[in-house]
């Protein structure tokens, strides 16, 4: 412990350099944290997708609708446990920038299919009683300061009402919470019966079906049977695991995300290289001083540990504050105003980040530390 100030005082030697090095490490790890959150957001849904759930959509594309009558036919297929359906509403609340998803659903089959959306029994009861009722995710409610009992107008972009009205009004009857980490709580679900009766066109058509199979091991087989059931009909289907479906959906924005991830990774490693080089340089400049320490009687091992402690200290301070800031910024929420509904710092990535901090400290320190250790005193002093 009494050696600690020997490490500390070297950081004060060139304050500007130390601060710049700390800052670049901080920024690198801030970037890293953000990167992880973005990546996680792009894959959101894939990781929480139920292994026992299939999504059935129109074979041609996601935009083509399927008849609502398929519901009963799917339910009869052996191996199918439950069925629900959803439709993309695509409405706007106040401003097109305020993007979030809205879907008409049938409350009971829907809530039964997705136990990860948690609402109170009272809320469910209200929903069943209120034709214009809608439930919204916790984050969404917080974002627009919505409460149960509020009436919110949504502008239709696709679904006008009979008579040409484009504004749909919904009564918020409940707020759902995430039953596990990674669940999207930025969506709005309202009642299909209200939707179907009021829409000007497309009656009896839905976007896609969610299907729960009895045995996850036989999901592929059930998917094939569903597609066979509707083969050669005007609306052929494509049934696939929920994870694959979410991924395909995310791909539309995901490619830009992937490019961003690559660029940010390159930036991250470049910053680390530069910072590491600076730290190594700082040690090399002190060769004679290390020689003096050895001449006085400090052992090779002691000198090695001073140098390592110094690099680990810089990396630790810079890295931990970088991860800390990343945590704070990510906790402040989705920076894109809705495009990344699930936005958090995954614990696994956080742990990897902490390991990276230690690795950075050791890697940047070890080469100069070994040099310092191997340094012959006579040679070191000769340099002066």
């Amino acid at each position: 412990m009494k050696f600690l100030y020997l490490v500390g005082c070297n950081l004060r030697r060139k304050k500007l350099r130390t601060i710049l090095t700390l800052l670049s490490i901080l920024i690198a790890f801030l970037l890293y944290g953000f990167l992880c959150a973005v990546k996680e957001a792009l894959n959101a849904g894939v990781s929480i997708a139920g292994a026992d759930r299939l999504v059935v959509r129109h074979k041609v594309s996601l935009i083509q609708l399927l008849p609502v009558s398929y519901k009963d036919r799917i339910a009869l297929i052996p191996g199918v446990d439950a069925v629900e359906h959803q439709t993309w509403f695509g409405g706007i609340y106040q401003d097109p920038k305020n993007f979030f998803a809205q879907m008409p659903v049938e409350p009971e089959p829907f809530l039964d299919m997705f136990p990860e959306f948690v609402i109170s029994a009272e809320a469910k009861e209200r929903w069943l009683k209120t034709r214009t009722g809608a439930i919204v995710g916790r984050k969404l409610a917080e974002r627009f300061k919505w409460k149960v009992g509020d009436r919110v107008p949504i502008q239709a972009t696709i679904w006008t009402q009979k008579g040409g009205e484009t504004t749909w009004e919904f009564d918020i009857v409940g707020i759902y919470d995430a039953g596990k980490k990674g669940v999207d709580t930025t969506q709005m679900f309202f009642r299909y019966d209200y939707f179907d009766e009021a829409r000007a066109f497309g009656e009896g058509q839905v976007g896609w079906y969610g299907v729960r199979v009895k045995d996850p091991a036989r999901a592929a087989e059930v998917a094939r049977k569903i597609d066979e059931e509707f083969a050669n009909s005007p609306a052929e289907t494509k049934a696939e695991p929920e994870g694959a479906f979410v991924q395909a959906f995310a791909k539309q924005v995901g490619d830009i995300g992937t490019i961003m991830v690559y660029i940010l990774s390159a930036v991250f490693f470049t910053i680390l290289l530069v910072a590491g080089n600076t730290m190594a340089q700082a040690v090399r400049e002190r060769t004679e001083e290390l020689g003096v320490l050895k001449a006085i009687g400090f052992t090779n091992a002691q000198v090695l540990s001073f140098v390592l402690a110094e690099s680990c200290f810089i990396s630790g301070i810079g890295g931990l504050s970088g991860l800390g800031f990343a945590w704070l910024l990510i906790a402040a929420g989705d920076p894109t105003n809705g495009a990344l509904p699930v936005f958090y710092f995954p614990t696994g990535n956080l742990i990897v980040g902490l390991i990276l901090v230690v690795v950075l400290g050791l890697v940047t320190g070890i080469v100069p530390a070994l040099q310092a250790m191997r340094l012959q005193i006579a040679d070191a002093l000769r340099r002066t």
Partner: protein, 232 residues
């Protein structure tokens, strides 16, 4: 191992060869030197003659290619690196031409450095540091950084650092080489006092006859060999 108890340093038949690539540089060739306890020895010789090399061997900073270095009956050239470091910490005080203070530490922190390797308590270390600084007459500069001190003052801090552990042997490599005459004289006064009043055994490399005049004995190094008392 029954050395003459009067002899502190015993360099026997030492040879030192440096290799620079394929080239061999023979610096010391069968050199013998005995330094009795309490001596203030001046080691003179032309530049490049091997004075620093010899001093490094005596101080355990380097090892001879052949021969032995015995100090207080201990063959230090055969100690492991680790034990040699411990030996240096206990027995040797080093004074360098360019002072070699750590620029980021205050005078007292610099003097404290060798004490970090002892088991002394913080309070005891403080006491030792104060004593050493007062011996060199720099108590009032304890909190100053090297760059705030003159060359002569820095060298006195260097001497305080060298004596703070009360070493057996004080080794000085051209301690006045970078100082003007007045500051140099003060350093020589100090070394002389350490020798006379505190009984320190000192080996001092110099090529200044003015400096060697203060020593109790002078030896000359030429062509890898010592010739004693060539010039009185």
């Amino acid at each position: 191992m029954s050395e003459n108890s009067e002899i502190l340093v015993h360099v026997k038949d030492v040879e030192k060869v440096f290799r620079r690539g394929s080239e061999e540089i023979h610096v010391l060739a069968g050199l013998d030197l005995e330094v009795p306890i309490g001596e203030f020895l001046a080691l003179m010789g032309p530049s490049g003659s091997g004075k620093t090399t010899l001093l490094n061997l005596i101080g355990g900073l380097d090892r001879p290619t052949r021969g032995s270095v015995v100090i207080q009956g201990e063959r230090i050239d055969q100690l492991s690196d680790r034990r040699l470091a411990g030996w240096r910490a206990r027995h040797v005080g080093l004074v360098f031409q360019l002072y070699n203070l750590l620029p980021v530490l205050t005078a007292e922190r610099n003097v404290d450095l060798p004490l970090l390797l002892t088991n002394l308590s913080k309070a005891d270390r403080r006491k030792h540091v104060e004593t050493a600084l007062s011996v060199v007459g720099l108590s009032h500069r304890a909190k100053h950084f090297p760059r705030q001190l003159s060359g002569g003052e820095q060298q006195r801090v260097g001497i305080a650092r060298a004596i703070v552990t009360d070493p057996t042997l004080l080794l000085c490599d051209e301690p006045t080489g970078d100082l003007d005459r007045k500051a140099g004289d003060e350093i020589l006064d100090l070394l002389q006092a350490l020798n006379r009043e505190h009984g320190k055994t000192i080996v001092m490399v110099t090529h200044d006859p003015h400096a060697s005049a203060r020593a109790t004995r002078t030896v000359h190094l030429t062509k890898g060999q010592l010739s004693s008392e060539a010039i009185a």
